[in-house]
Structure formats: C-alpha cells, structure tokens
C-alpha cells in the first residue's frame, strides 16, 4: 500500500447497512485461499453481481452507513483486498469490519455525506492521512476523520502482524 495513504481510482457506490453476507456470503466460508475468496466479493449486493468481472486495480469502494455489519468474518476485508480495491470510504463502518481492516493494513476512511456526493464511475482521490476525499469528476471535496493514533500505526506497519513483528522477534 501507498505509504502516503493517498489513492486515486474509480468509485463503486453501494448503500447503507451492507452486511458481511452481502460482501462475502456464508456459503463460501469453507474457502481459505484468498484468491478463491476474492471471486465472490460483493456477490450478494443487489446490482453488484458483476463487480469482480469489472473491478480494476485501484478502484475505490464508497458506501453508506454501517458498512460491514454482521459477522466477524475477516473474509469480508480479504475479498476486497484481493480484488485490488485500494480503499473503502464509508459514511460509517461496523466495528468488526473496521478493526479487521486496520489489522490487515487495508485503508478505510469515514467521511460523512460521502455516499450522496459520489456516483459509480467517478474518479476519486482519497487521502486517508488527511481524511479527505476529492471527487475529481464532480469537483467536490469532502472532509472525514483522518487516520490517527494506534490504528494509524498498525495500518502503517501493514497490519497487526507487521506492527507486532519486533515484539514477536524479540521473544524468540
């Protein structure tokens, strides 16, 4: 991931309360290979059935409130990561999804009002450090919550294991 936490890509917009069964359905839980898991990203979100065919590396997912509610499955983050989605920008995240994303070093950003200001296909520039999103297509700039504190440190380290690396090596 970009060390500056700045990403540029096309937007995919989905609604409120997208739950983990929509992001990665329970019927695929037996899978453990991330490449296989990635084939089922967002399959149960109405209107997003062809997402995995059309997504391009660097694309940005824009969502309404409470994205990722439901199950604790980390698959929901992995399946987006392995489709080379560069970031998820949401009105708000369900907590387990948020935490799993931090622990996997997957950039996420909360920006109030984002879902109303972006349409699928818009070109966005996301600066997770500054907490800002620039909709280049519409010429709109939105401000959210910048990454900070421990979550930022973990994300910068590439995730929880990256962060714990020194500690774990010192024990050996």
């Amino acid at each position: 991931m970009s060390e500056e936490f700045v990403f540029r890509g096309r937007a995919w917009v989905v609604g409120d309360d997208i739950d983990t069964d929509m992001i990665y359905h329970g019927s695929y839980l037996p899978l453990t290979d991330p490449q296989e898991m990635a084939k089922h990203a967002l399959e149960y979100v109405p209107g997003m059935e062809d997402f995995t065919d059309k997504v391009q590396p660097g694309d940005i997912l824009v969502t309404g409130k409470n994205f990722g509610c439901g199950s604790s499955r980390e698959h929901a983050v992995i399946t987006l990561q392995y489709n080379d989605v560069s970031a998820v920008v949401a009105e708000s995240f369900s907590r387990i999804f948020y935490r799993n994303a931090v622990n996997l070093g997957f950039p996420i950003l909360e920006v109030p009002g984002i879902a109303r200001q972006v349409e699928t296909g818009d070109e966005l520039e996301v600066d997770a450090n500054a907490g800002s999103v620039h909709n280049l297509t519409k010429g709109v700039e939105l401000q959210g919550t910048p990454l900070s504190g421990l979550e930022k440190e973990i994300m910068t380290a590439g995730g929880l294991f990256g962060y714990l690396k020194k500690e774990l090596q010192a024990e050996e």
Binding site: P46, N66, S72, R73, E74, R99, N100, G149, L164
Partner: protein, 418 residues
Amino acid sequence: MSGKTVIEKILSDHSGEDARAGDRVWADLDLAVVRDFGGPNVVLEYEKQLADKPVWDPQKIAMTFDYQAPAKVVQVANNQRICREFAAKHGIPHVFDVNAGIGQHVLLEHGMVLPGSVIIGTDSHMNLLGAVGSFSTGMGTTDVAAGWATGRLWFRVPETIKITFQGEYGYPASAKDLALFLLSQIDTSKTIYKAMEFYGQPIQALTLAGRLTLDSMVTEMEGKIGFIVPDEQILGWIGERAGKPVEAVVSDADASYWEEWEFNIDGLEPLIACPDRPDNVRPVGEVAGTPVDEVFIGSCTNGRLEDLQVAADVLERMGGKVAPHVRLIVTPATTEVAMEAVEAGLYETFIKAGAMVTNQGCSLCTIGHHGVLAEGDILVSTGNRNFRGKLGKGSLAYLTGPAVAAATAVKGEISLPE
C-alpha cells in the same frame, strides 16, 4: 476523576492502565477461541506468520466446532482437521468438537467464562457472554492469531450507554421481545461500538437464558457488548462450574456514561423482525397470517432449555401437530441442553409434532447447516439475523421468540400462541 463503568474496570484490570472511554489499551486475554468457521484461517495465518512458534498459553485457547457440525462438506471436514491437528501439536486441551454445541454456551457451561474476564473469538456473537459480566467480543482471523501468539490485544475502550428498563410484562412476551423492542427503539448510528449496561426490574427478573437472549442481539444493535450484573444465583451457578467462587464486576456509582436511556416496557407484546433487517420490528399481530415454509427454533439467541420448553408447551397447547406444509427444525444449543430436553420429554413432543430435532450447534443461523431455503421460501426463526439471502438467495426470514415460532409452525402462518 469520575468512577468507572464495567468495561473501564475490566480493561483497566487487564491492561494495568487507567483505561477510560476512548483510550487505546493493550489488554491481557483470558481466553481466545476459534470455531470451525474462522478457526482454520487463524491456524493458517498463525503458521504463515510464526511457523512453529509455541502458542502463548495452551490452557487459554479453546476450539468450538459449531458452524457445520458434523461436517457435510469435505472442505469443512478438512478445516476441522486443520484445527484438531494444530490443537494436538500445541497441546491445546480445550477442543469442543462437533458433538458439543454452540461455543459460547459450551464454554459457559464448562465454567470457562468468568465475570470480569476478557475473551475473544471468531464469532460476532461472542458478546452474548456480557450476560454474565464477561467482556467477550468477536474478532477476525488476524486478531485471534496474534492473540494466540502474544496473549494480548489492542482495544479502544468503548463509551457506555446505561439503559434502564421499567415496567412489567409476561408470557407470551419474552426476553427476545425485549431485545427486539430495544432494536426498534434505538438509532444504531448512536450505538456503534458502544458498551451497554442493562438495569431495572425487568432485567433483574431475567433468567440466565433470558439474559443470554437479550445480550446476543447487542451485535444487531451494533453495540460492542451488553453487560448485565450477574445476581447471586448466576454467580453460584458459574462458581460451581468453575470450581471456585466468582465475583461480579460492578460499575462505580459515579461512573461516567456516554448517555443514559430509559424505556418503559409495561405490557410488552410479542414482536417480530421482518425482512431484511433485525431492526425492522413490528407487533406480531401486524403480520399475522403471513404463510411460512419453515420454522427454526434454536441458535445462540434462543437455543436453551427454557426456550425449547416454551416452544414444546405451545405445540402441545395448540394441538401438538406442525402444519403439513411446514418444516420445523429444532436445535438445542449444547449437549447439556439436549440431555435436559430429553429428560424433560421435549424430544418426544417435538418428534410427535412432526419436527426434526437436529444435533446441537449453530444450525440454521448460517448456511452451513441442513435446512437451507429455496428461492421464495419464508422462514420464521428464533435466531438473530434476517439479512437478505442469508440462508438462500431469494428467501425471506422473520425473527421472533420461541412461543410465536412454535405457534407459527402449528398454524403454517405467522401466529400468536393460543
């Protein structure tokens, strides 16, 4: 400095810091649990990151196979084997295999869940253990793998909402209706990642099963955990199983709450969550008459003896037969519950009525179990989620308590119990 909430006390105790809402702390874990869902991913991640490194404490790791029990898909059988082999290699004694039941309930029955403990697991409903004052929470693969290695994890100390109930209600309403009522009243954008503490006479009157029911739906409220201070009877029950006396963690009188809410639930009526959201709650009467194809009684929300007893009583009172076109699936939460239900004669009632009583486990809360739905099927479930297509694309699900579920099975349409 003001006093502390329950979560601030538990995280202070486990981090050695003065943990206050909003702080990030590293807290010691008392138990780190995986299921056959998530578990194999944890094992693979652990071995990818750390190879053969011994786990932090084999006694504080548990495995509970409740997702697909026993396995019906070879990939799941393989996944369960991956977990068993890891447990054998690392000397992890607490493996509750496919015959044990729903993880949280099994751990509770085995005296492994103490008030004031910090427990993580690959189950978003781990937090139902707040019903006995434990801070238990669902986590992803990376968290649990890191927890197995280090015995500690980072937490953002949640703010707490103090929720007090007043009033009285009785049968056919139950703890499930209390949970559904709360879901219908709250704005989940306010409850995201909040701890809750539940108080008031209606809470004190809840049995252990009722407390577990209410707390199991805190996840659907987007809450982090719902604490209920265990009473003497519940403390005695846990202490007996843990083999040592246990104490409750109680918030300070001057604890600082994010908000305090009060609800009057006088005369609470049976409620039902309509498709596709747990908070799409209506009085059962408003949707009575809706034809159904399948009814599920069980889950970590309503799978205890008390729930099965209520359902069996309703079945018997209403003629003892499930409607011919309805599939009724009953699943006890654990082996202990199953045995109690056998002894109470409930299996006979269910089987004579035409129900299928399946082995203990999560059953129809996930798509991993027999009984999945066809396109167009309508399910009435005592579970906790009714998201779109969860049990089969194009199917619909309603959530309610065991009395309404049983009455619905008899009538073949959503019904209040007679």
